[in-house]
Symmetry: D2
Subunit: 137 residues, 4 copies
């Protein structure tokens, strides 16, 4: 078991959440934050930054939203389910928007990798929302 899973297991209120999937979701969000921050910075160093302005803006939005969502999910002891659900919904939209824009710049490897990461994170958000609606998480 990885360190983050062990941290979830060691939480006094672990029974409040689905500790099977949540640690992997939080790590995915953390990875997506780093990836989007790197993609924005790489785009700023490209010769054709003009074409990448929207991509940079959506990278930054996705990075900040993933960061906020990872925090919310890591604070499950006294979490308000309505806040968690809306935050994950906002994150799914931000990841989707970033993935679609990065997909338009497939000639740059950082955009290609970032699109893949955002797509995975968008799907992780969708799965988490399904569990919440099913009352599992």
């Amino acid at each position: 078991m990885d360190r983050i899973s062990s941290m979830f297991e060691a939480h006094p209120r672990r029974s409040r959440v689905d500790t099977g999937r949540l640690p992997a979701f939080v790590l995915e969000l953390a990875d997506c934050e780093v990836t989007c921050t790197l993609c924005a910075d790489a785009c700023l160093s490209e010769p054709h930054v003009q074409m990448l302005a929207k991509c940079i803006a959506l990278n930054l939005e996705c990075a900040d939203t993933c960061a906020a969502t990872a925090r919310t999910l890591s604070r499950f002891g006294f979490a308000e389910p309505s806040v968690t659900r809306l935050q994950v919904e906002a994150c799914r939209e931000a990841c989707g928007a970033c993935a679609r824009e990065c997909d338009r710049h497939q000639d740059m490897e950082h955009c290609q990798l970032c699109a893949e990461m955002c797509r995975r994170c968008e799907q992780a958000c969708s799965r988490a929302l399904e569990s919440m609606l099913a009352g599992v998480s």
Copy 2:
């Protein structure tokens, strides 16, 4: 005109947003982030911190959500309306939850002040959501 309003006025895409209300909303979110961070830290120094555990958790949640929402609203040049709307909805819920919990600790001035701030911020979120639905913002 204050500095933040001038910054909104100086943005090349200022016509995309209602620059009347948005600067004040962003400042309210920034104030609420600081207030909730201070309330959490004050609660941690109280003799009866046990009773304040939920309050601290909701303070932290509200601070991070306000921070993320202020960022989203300050990045309106290429904003995705669906992300903005969901982020403001998450923020309204986080502010409401924090206000309700702080209200239960009226004997501590920091909780009293924090409840007032969160209530104001919750209302600012509601007004912003009404404008968005009305297509103004």
Copy 3:
């Protein structure tokens, strides 16, 4: 007395800090974060974004560093003086670097306003560091 000053006054460990200057400093950092986030977004919407790539990168750096520093200063109940001092030093450098770069783009009002804000925040960092060395804060 403004709301943030009242929050500092209501903190059980208010005697640990110079509550005269600290609230204004924290608000200055919060304002600088918003201003730099707005300047980055405005730059991304300018026709000559290529020339502004470094400015955008330093805006983002300054925004995140100001945010982290405001958090550190708002958590003074159990603060480690060495962390606080280094964080304020990092912030002074980030504000100075951003101010110098924004100064090079005086033809854009958002850069002009952002340079002024960063310069003020840089000075506030310097004053805070002097107080810390003098053992006041």
Copy 4:
């Protein structure tokens, strides 16, 4: 090669940084942020939260400082070396302070795991600072 390393490799200015160690350092900071956020939340749910107040405060400080430092290191395209160095120094202090406090609560598994994570991150900061002084990074 993992995804984050590939992102560093795909950056147009990759030659500015030591891409051997930097990706692992950024991931360590991201892990430490999540771990500290989880430890703070777990502490808030413990029956003896009173004893853990300082631990919670230092967890929060460490989480925010690691987050800011990961952002700074991921924005290496136009980075100011003085900001990076001071931010990593602040982070090393925050990790060290958190590790020392968590070490005092070895009976709680989350504090034990968090102490280990913070100690690793503190060492990663030290190694990075040595590289910077040696002019490698």
